[in-house]
Symmetry: C2
Subunit: 139 residues, 2 copies
Amino acid sequence: MEPGITDVTSNHDLHSADCQKVSQVLARVGDKWSILIVMFLVQEPRRFSEIKRAINGISQRMLTLCLRGLERDGLIKRTVYAVMPPHVEYELTPLGRSLTEPVIALGTWAFEHIADIEAARTAFDMQEENKGGPTPWQS
Amino acid sequence: MEPGITDVTSNHDLHSADCQKVSQVLARVGDKWSILIVMFLVQEPRRFSEIKRAINGISQRMLTLCLRGLERDGLIKRTVYAVMPPHVEYELTPLGRSLTEPVIALGTWAFEHIADIEAARTAFDMQEENKGGPTPWQS
DNA sequence: CGGAATCCAGACGGATACTG
DNA sequence: CAGTATCCGTCTGGATTCCG
């Protein structure tokens, strides 16, 4: 029996192959850089160095890896212009563009509920703190 | 309007504090187990061992960690019944329940485009293969 | 039953140096 | 400019053991 889940809306079969594939897509969205890159490319095609500058903090190694992964999944298209110095452009494919819709929906949800989440975290952390020991202050 | 990004669709500032927080939520969704757990809890409250059985392949360590993280973010609620043997139930909070909506949207997109993505991967991998060496077949 | 604690291998990812 | 290759520390996460 395989691990995983099937249809997100009906989980009477929490371990089908379909579900594993869906999880792979969710992992892409959850990837630290991939979606940032996709959202940056929504407006227009961009060069490697433009992306690197825009996505603050990404290493060139990770940028290369992410771009390769996105290209492999058919979400972006890579175009090389045979000039000197090299000129490479990345742009969203129709598939990649269609992904932005549910991603924006999720991002909007996140933005709208950040306050709730942070409040919950603070409350939770305070509870945890009270379990560390009986009034360690003023020992 | 405050400095920084307030709209996921406009990325002229991809490294603001807001954006980082949104990324944290996306990371939750992309987490290997968290969303599987959330979707499993949509129907009804579940016990620890029920979840463990449903989510095939998860270790009890990871289940504990995931549940703690989800509880900390206010997405699920943990209820302990003081009986012997121990009985602990997990259920979605309203916040967690509201998250399922955009997640289902994303999951639906993923499910609908799995074929496209796998086709793109196959095509990409075949291109890569042709770069390994000149016709290694029939050596 | 529902964890917590420990150990440990392997994956992830940054920094750096080199190349066409 | 747009990568590739290598090194290497960090973190993730599975397996195992013990506890209330």
